[in-house]
């Protein structure tokens, strides 16, 4: 899923300051699951903003609404009935959702309330970790199911570097060395031999190297 974290309140306040009526929009997908922008966080941010402005003597009106999915136009359409009552939109969705709202309501300022962080998995309750960078050419089949692009600090495809210590990355003892994990997994699978095959330099065109990407499923696209 896509993970995100709420922006510092101060930054959000700066966006919202010029306005009196705000439509605060949550999303019931990824950002709900990673506890950044679901109905609950919308409620919390709404209350926090109102108090922060009250303290400055301003009565900020906040209308809360959480969409099923903010990156689909049909859902975003739901906002049309309330958009006129707001001077600006504050979105707690990932960057996709923010842009979808901005695209649909072009004359309404839209601000992000979260920082979209990464594509990750939930390691346990309350902990999410990066797993994928969407490079468009998945290597997991040859790296034992662990991605060196997303999980090695240096994106080494032929790691590990000399900084690997006790299974941890040189940048922090809290970060696992991806290549240690790859090696352990290759061993567990009896594929140690595969390690010495040199993985060639990557074709980054499938990733961001090729400019903004688009998927068109001919059979589905209208």
């Amino acid at each position: 899923m896509i993970t995100a974290e709420r922006k510092p309140l101060e930054e959000i306040i700066a966006y919202v300051r010029p306005f009196d009526r705000i439509l605060l929009v949550g999303c019931n997908e990824c950002v709900t699951v990673c506890a950044a922008g679901g109905r609950k966080e919308v409620g919390i941010l709404s209350s926090a903003l109102q108090m922060a402005f009250l303290k400055q003597g301003k009565n900020l009106q906040v209308k809360e609404h959480t969409l099923e999915r903010q990156c689909d136009p049909e859902y975003v359409e739901e906002l049309s009935s309330m958009i006129d009552g707001a001077d600006a939109v504050l979105s707690m969705a990932c960057g996709c959702g923010v842009q979808e709202v901005a695209r649909r309501y072009r004359d309404k300022p839209v601000f992000p309330a979260v920082n979209t962080t990464f594509m990750g998995a939930s390691e346990r309750q309350g902990v999410w970790a990066e797993r994928c960078q969407g490079c468009g050419d998945c290597l997991l089949g040859i790296t034992g199911g662990i991605c060196p692009i997303a999980r090695c600090s240096k994106q080494l495809l032929n790691g590990p570097c000399g900084g690997s210590t006790h299974g941890k990355c040189e940048i922090s003892p809290d970060v696992d060395c991806a290549w240690q994990l790859i090696w352990d997994r290759l061993k567990a699978l009896g594929l140690e031999n595969r390690y010495e095959e040199i993985i060639p330099a990557k074709d980054w065109r499938t990733g961001r190297g090729g400019g903004p990407r688009k998927i068109i499923r001919e059979d589905l696209a209208e």
Partner: protein
Amino acid sequence: MKTDSVLEKVLSSGKLAVTSECGPPRGAAVDKVKKKAEMLKGVVDAVNVTDNQTAMVRMSSFAAGVFLRQMDLHPILQMVTRDRNRLAMQADIIGAYAHGINTMLCLSGDHPHFGDHPTAANVHDIDSIQFIQMVRQMRDEGTFQGGAEIDQPPKMFIGAAANPFADPFELRVARLAKKVAAGVDFIQTQCIYNLDKFEQWMEGVCARGLHEKCPILAGITPMKSAGMARYMKNKVPGMDVPQELVDRMAGVPKEKQAEEGIKICVESMQRLKEVKGVAGFHIMAIEWEQKVSEIVEKAGLLPRPTV
């Protein structure tokens, strides 16, 4: 001979090679490079010129290397994959070669996390092994990594680093094998303090015959003080400093510690000379270049051969 590299010549003569390094200044104070280089003249066969070492901005290794070359020293151009993509790297390689630099060291580089630009983007378009492959391809096939032909290809003698002490230890020989397979010509190792472990690694290296395909220069760094020993032991990732060594440094009075560090360094070199597969030494006397000649001399490696 693949190249005109002096280092290649020394190594192929079967004599123990000696290299050292020279960190470019953090600014345009070119005199500082020259001063450091002067101390190494006639003492070592070639001099590594570091590339934004520890992710701190310095004068580019290419530019500093050109100064060294002008002083008739033999620079080893260090280049990291952290800061440039493959286009920039190939461009600099050609340029350096055109300036008479024919030896280089292919590295991935320290993470920006450690340096003075922690917010910098981390390029890593290719990794160090792919880097070696690329330089080898430029030299031997005369083509760019993208496949186009090169007009006067750079004939680089290609080096790489190896850290025998990092984890997982069992992968360390295999990783060296990958570098050899990628086409590396020589190896400089991380500083060696844990000689037992190094010998263990070398056994593995020799068992696979890698030392025959690629000469290995043992990395040496003299310690200036017990404090430095402790720092290296505890703070530097991938460094293996045995406690005995720290204790030995701490066991002598402060003013004698530097001397003790040199002594340890020389003792290590004497022992390493006997280790099968060691083809020379890479002496990294960080900001202590004036001691290199003393070390090389005490290790019985002077005068340097002329090739």
